[in-house]
């Protein structure tokens, strides 16, 4: 299952799965010594069939079922979009709600395993208004985990981000531990001086939280239905442990639009 933003649309279709049409080509023998076009184009029947595979993606399909069901007649498809021209003396640009993050090394299993999630997703999961009303469950099978790993996804990041992601990781561990019985949380990340001096002692006092100063290397599932296997290095030693749920600490990224806006208005992002 893919969690990447902006790519979400699932609805059942009868013709799924069906492969895409393959472009016909002239043979390799026909290509040597000349510059004849290799790809010969779709014949009509093939093109029409391929075009029919299109899901015509849109969110609301305009079927009006909701409109028919709505007793207080609150649903109104004719409410128009509005365009407003406004003038301001000052502008404040904030990060917004995009929650974009820097790409994560595919070896850490995010995007491959449904039970590898980001710290931002975990934040929603822990939220009382979140998808599970704050319960910690594995998105893979809905089970409550007993071994949870929170691992650093960006070891090479600068100190400020490393520190704030470590604090977020510890805080998420504290909330998860308070909500889940018999849970053990393991945090694996490089530590920096800021963390060691200002927060490590406090974090060490959290019961149920194991802190490992190390570098996560890979997250794999060796066989189906098995727990996730995390490889990491600690003091130059390579170690391997299994977990029911893995949370990756991400590096937040400002969206392209916000960056462009900031440049255009010569205003920093708060």
């Amino acid at each position: 299952m893919i969690y990447e933003k902006e790519k979400r649309y699932i609805i059942p279709f009868d013709d799924v799965p069906s492969p895409r049409a393959e472009m016909p080509e002239i043979s390799v023998d026909e290509r040597r010594g000349n510059f004849v076009e290799v790809e010969t184009g779709f014949p009509e029947d093939m093109a029409v069939k391929e075009a029919k595979r299109c899901l015509s993606c849109r969110r609301c399909l305009g079927c009006a079922l909701c409109w028919a069901e709505c007793e207080p007649e609150a649903i109104d498809f004719s409410i128009p979009d509005e365009e407003l021209d406004l003038e301001f003396d000052e502008v404040v640009i904030t990060k917004g709600q995009d929650n974009a993050f820097a790409p994560i090394d595919p070896g850490l299993g995010f995007g491959t395993h449904a039970d590898v999630i980001t710290d931002i997703q975990f934040e929603r999961m822990l939220s009382p208004t979140g998808p599970t009303d704050g319960m910690v469950v594995s998105p893979l099978d809905g089970q409550i985990p007993s071994r949870l790993a929170i691992i650093q996804g960006h070891a090479g990041q600068d100190d400020e981000h490393l520190l704030s992601s470590l604090i977020l990781g510890v805080n998420e561990a504290i909330i998860a531990l308070s909500k889940t019985e018999n849970l053990e949380v393991t945090l694996v990340s490089p530590f920096n001086d800021g963390f060691k001096e200002g927060f490590l002692k406090e974090a060490q006092e959290v019961s149920g939280l194991r802190l490992i100063e190390g570098a996560p290397e890979s997250v794999v599932r060796d066989q189906e239905n098995a727990p996730l296997s995390l490889k990491y290095s600690e003091n130059g030693q390579r170690r391997e442990e299994t977990f029911d749920l893995v949370v990756i600490l991400t590096r937040p990224e400002i969206s392209k639009e916000m960056k462009a806006l900031s440049r255009r208005l010569d205003t920093p992002i708060q």
Binding site: I2, Y3, K7, Y9, I10, P17, S18, P19, R20, V28, R32, E37, V38, F42, E44, A47, V48, A51, R53, C54, S56, C57, R58, R59, C60, G62, L65, C66, E69, C70, P72, A74, I79, E82, E83, D85, L86, E87, F88, D89, V91, V92, I93, T94, G96, Q97, E123, R124, S127, G130, P131, T132, P139, I167, N171, S178, F199, M258, R264, L265
Partner: protein, 557 residues
Amino acid sequence: MGDRKVLIVGGGLDGVAAALEKAGTGAHVTVVEKFPSLGAERITRDRIVGPDDAFVNPDLDKVRNHDKIRILTYSELKKVNRDNGKVSARILKRSLRVDNTKCNDCKACIRVCPVNMFDDFDEGLGFRTAVDYFNPATAGYNIFKEEMPVCQRACPVNLDIRTYVGQIADGKHLDSLATIRERLPLPGSIGRVCPHPCETACNRQYLDEPISICFLKRFAADVELSQGIEPVYETPDKKLPGKIAIIGAGPAGLTCAYHLARQGYEHITIYEALPVPGGYLWVGIPEYRLPKKLLQREVDLIANMGIDIQYNKRIGEDLSFEELRKNNDAIFIGAGCHRGLKLRVPGEDEYEGKGIVDCVTFLRDQALGKPFETKGKLIVIGGGNAAIDSARVGWRMGFDEVYILYRRTKKEMPANSWEIDAAEHEGVILQYLAAPVEILGKDGRVSGMKCIKMELGEPDASGRRRPVPIEGSEYVIDAQTIVPAISQGTNLEFLGEDHGFEINRWNTFDVDEETCATNIPGVFAGGDVVTGPDIAIRAVAAGKRAAEGIHEYLRSR
């Protein structure tokens, strides 16, 4: 202070806090948020907390009930400008399609909605229907209907893919082509060469495989051709004044001219340094991927709109840039990246033209029909599409053996995977993890190359693992022709000295992203000359943006 107006962009935790702070000083505050509701609670990131006070809640009630704060959710800044200290903004406020003053929160709508999609608000951990209340803390219902499907959004020119693919499904192939031409005047050419970012975005891939969008575009263009239809690109009867010069008849320049002509401009001249149109599409993309005849026809259709294309006119040689500026009201620079970058190894300069030829020159000379010695072994150096094109061209020209030498592995190659496969399929031999050290020669001609083996180290800034030479692993291979295809750069000599343009360290123009305007009024630039070597459809998009920018500039004069 009382009448001060403040715009807050973003309605997350930070935006809500900023809005309350500014409103507290007496200012009138407007919050613009892209999502249908304001932000949710977040976990503190600057101190370790207890389980009960870990979440910081935005004060949603206070911000919603504040008489100095106006909240525009599901809204977007369409245009924004800073002028004399004031910021003027055009804001699109999308319809929620639900009157939340009437809604009684019974959720009947959610139960019947057939659409099932990942929930953005919960970071994809759950599902939602098209009708939803998004942030449960705000309970504002909305019906999510997108302006564009993902494919259209992924396309640099925002082609209306859903419509034109649907028209093909309905058998209305020529209507489909007309839909494409609303934005793209080169459907047959782009339909052959585009690496189709739309297909990478296509939602069908999560069910089986993405729709073959690019080839369907080509199909629509081929139908017209096979039916022998010669269309006329319409221009409006009402003509607009203003002389516009375009430098370069590549995809950016041609598209810019097309859209200007569609606006009604009738004095458009394209100056092309080469004897042929199309820019890199003609002299970079080989014939076996894009037949010249087809490209020529698409260019002719554009030229027939009354656009004067002057070939063999190199600005800076046949006509000075200064002269061009004097005689025109606006200029678009779409000069591309037609300079092959050097390997910078010993022997390269000595044997230049004597067996060593950069990929841009190699592909151009072949495309223009210059004779070439094709005996022996050809080695292409590099991993991009230009390297693959050079190798596949060399193989067709009749070299006995064709090699590609790349310093990383196949996985890191920037070339499109299907092009790499095709090259291998044709018999091009790919050698990975090797880099050139020295060009060797004999009797005044290239005779071979000293290489070194590489291994992959830590990831670099591009996220790819950095190749590191293995000490003492040098070896020599013989070669009669060597084609470096490592990257391309711009050539801005035509601007002359003291041109006053803002040029960045990649030797490309710095332009306004929306209008393609350079720092010199009336001069616009787009395509590879701004982005560095990039895909054709992005140059098309820049040409279209520039046409709109030029139109706005000429109108406001």
